[in-house]
Symmetry: C2
Subunit: 427 residues, 2 copies
């Protein structure tokens, strides 16, 4: 088994060959934590096993997954067991933050899938890693199943990134995909996402864009060295998008996807987390269901794309275990704190606009009113009267969000319209 | 600069921080070699410089790119300069093979973009790396601008690959893309590819499929631990595909792309390098021009995709320099030799078939004759008479290559037809 493993990976560790069994300590034993324990136990690829786990209630029956694992409700006894690597699978900000800092201070490498931890406390936990010269890895925090952050570490030319566009929230992408073509309502789609273990315990974090914003912060840190929290960013959710919007997007030759996007080698660095209309030819248009994908713009390597499963306990566990193997290697590099704090703008883009009312005003009047606010129509749909009231969609020329919003607000006041504006991004 | 670099990559070397200047020796100073020298000199990201280079003729004027570089026509003096890393940019099998083995034996890490070296002498050079416990890296050998091989090294769960489908020959993809929609003839497309530096010095290696077959061997070794040379594989070129085939592919809802594909967790492991018809919804259908892309099927991570520039001196040089930085790190892993030698089959697939003749036989007769060989039509095109003679295209149900070939040969004999069969692969 050892020989085959080394051959398959194309590389073998120069020191620990054949590899000894990795002793892992889990913080948290929920869906991801128990998948880690199962996978570590089952896997023939690399000997690893979970020896200790922090749980809230040690008496709860956790089935065969917890066999041979010392369960404890106090973190210090878990860390005192001297594991090779700590796998943080608690999620959320505290106690994850304190425990990760504690483990690093003891010189124990930490791997984590926790985007909230990195987004809100990235500076602090990475400074702790740097101070202890101990690895902190977070490959599973964004696009959980896709090993891509690691491809940029220690590769300075590839790391010459100046922007990216990505689908990082599997739940929202799953919901919008399932709603397309009228296959499911939003509620049905969400329920199915939860049933499959894709949706976060609190779905409002997904649909509001908060989860995407946290992952955007992780990406900004990793690719730009930027220290950013979600509070610094323009964030929108998918709450107001319905099946008719998705149908009209198709009529306009595109799809609506939950995106995060940023660029920083321009006059005004910008970063957004928002659903967006993209043309069918956009590389992210093909990313459907719970899959995630990223288009990375680099100076030396042109445009790079990476895609694959974005969520799910099993793929997250597999990535955490791979991170653990890497973090335990002698000479493994450690993350280091970002220091640059930009002020993020939101870009001027085209927009996909919906107006709805019991009775819409004359189309020419609408165009005149929007034009008086400097907003110009590029393309309009026929009017739709399916729901009793009238609805119409349009693509409008590039403009800033405040201008679009004030023009639509004026239209809403003048004609009792309900309006929705979604960004339209080019390839 | 150093601090920014460390932050951008998200990781920093634990030992050599701040990094000292890497001293690089080049073997070969052609388009890739001189791009390496230029980029190493220009780059603010990581201090590196080329100190020595092996060239055929030391007196030839190489302009500013060779300033400060000790040029030599004997390899031993280049290796005796004790570089931190040797960058092999000779291409081809010899003297690359001997020089790489020599460098490794001296304990000097080697990086290479040379797929021929890996494909034909992979066992030998990797055994040399293993024996010397010295890194040999080859990220640029396949999909030169895309860092993806590295994402699987030292990640045993991600490395649970059981198959892949990829576009790895930028020249062929550029030619087929440029021929689509009648935008260029094959000759014009090839000339343009050569002008841009995408095409190999000898284009026959690209269009015959030999280049793709060598890269397929590198992928089989990296992802499966398989020891394979191009002689073991079913290889087809794009020589007989013309603009009308590409147009008809579009009518059938797809595109023709130069693919390599393999699967080995099945009853009969198979591997092919051949142009193929794929549906427009296939993830590789969006990979156009000189871009390359790969779809990797894994046990634990589902389906992963990677894409980006596949060729060009600049991106190849950037990847080589990133490999050099990684190879020079203390504790860097080294490649290890593969040992498994399977017998590769070719799979039964659907086929995209063209028949042409001064006058084609009756359509029903054609279907009957093919049916008598067990070959069944799925869809046919209208007949085309643009070139005086008649042409018709069809998609046929899944079958093996020998069966398709014998059926088409029988049709050719019976009705004086010229025939062409291209594989049709599903998503």
């Amino acid at each position: 088994v050892t020989t085959a493993t080394a051959a398959v990976a194309g590389h073998v560790d120069p020191v620990a060959s054949p590899p000894r069994t990795l002793r892992l300590a889990l913080l948290g034993f929920g869906s991801v934590g128990s998948a880690v324990a199962r996978l570590a136990h089952d896997s023939p690829l690399h000997p690893a096993r979970v020896t200790a786990a922090l749980v809230r209630d040690v008496r709860r029956d956790r089935g065969p997954a917890s066999q041979g694992i010392a369960l404890a409700s106090d973190a210090s006894s878990v860390l005192a067991s001297r594991p090779d690597v700590v796998i943080e699978a608690l999620g959320g900000r505290e106690p994850a933050r304190s425990l990760v800092i504690d483990a690093l201070a003891r010189g124990v490498p930490v791997v984590s899938a926790n985007k909230s931890l990195l987004a809100w406390h990235g500076d602090e936990v990475l400074a702790a890693a740097e101070a202890a010269r101990t690895p902190l890895r977070y490959e599973a925090a964004v696009m959980a199943g896709v090993p891509f952050l690691c491809a940029f570490a220690d590769r300075p030319f590839a790391a010459s990134v100046h922007g990216f566009t990505a689908i990082v929230n599997g739940t929202c992408n799953f919901i919008l995909s399932a709603m397309s073509g009228g296959r499911a309502t939003r509620q049905q789609a969400l329920a199915e996402a939860q049933r499959r273990g894709y949706a976060e315990p609190d779905p409002s974090s997904d649909v509001s864009g908060r989860d995407a914003a946290e992952k955007l912060c992780v990406l900004l840190r990793h690719f730009g060295g930027w220290s950013t929290t979600p509070n610094d960013l323009d964030v929108e959710g998918i709450e107001r998008i319905d099946a008719e919007d998705l149908e009209q997007a198709r009529e306009f030759g595109g799809v609506i996807r939950p995106l995060v996007s940023a660029a920083w080698e321009c006059e005004r660095p910008w970063a957004i987390a928002a659903p967006a209309f993209i043309p069918r030819t956009h590389p992210l248009a093909a990313v459907q269901g719970v899959d995630s994908g990223i288009v990375i713009r680099t100076r030396y390597h042109g445009v790079l794309t990476f895609g694959g499963p974005g969520a799910g306990p099993e793929v997250t566990a597999a990535t955490l275990l791979d991170d653990a193997v890497t973090a335990a290697r002698p000479g493994s590099s450690f993350a280091c704190a970002a220091s640059r704090r930009p002020s993020w703008d939101a870009p001027a883009t085209s927009w996909f606009v919906r107006v709805g009312a019991a009775r819409l005003p004359d189309e020419r009047d609408t165009a005149d009113l929007l034009g008086s606010h400097g907003v110009w129509l590029k393309r309009t749909s026929p009017r739709d009267t399916r729901r009793g009231g009238e609805r119409q969609w349009a693509l409008v020329h590039a403009d800033t969000k405040p201008r679009i919003e004030s023009a639509l607000a004026a239209l809403g006041r003048a004609a009792c319209c309900d309006t929705l504006a979604i960004r339209a991004m080019e390839a």
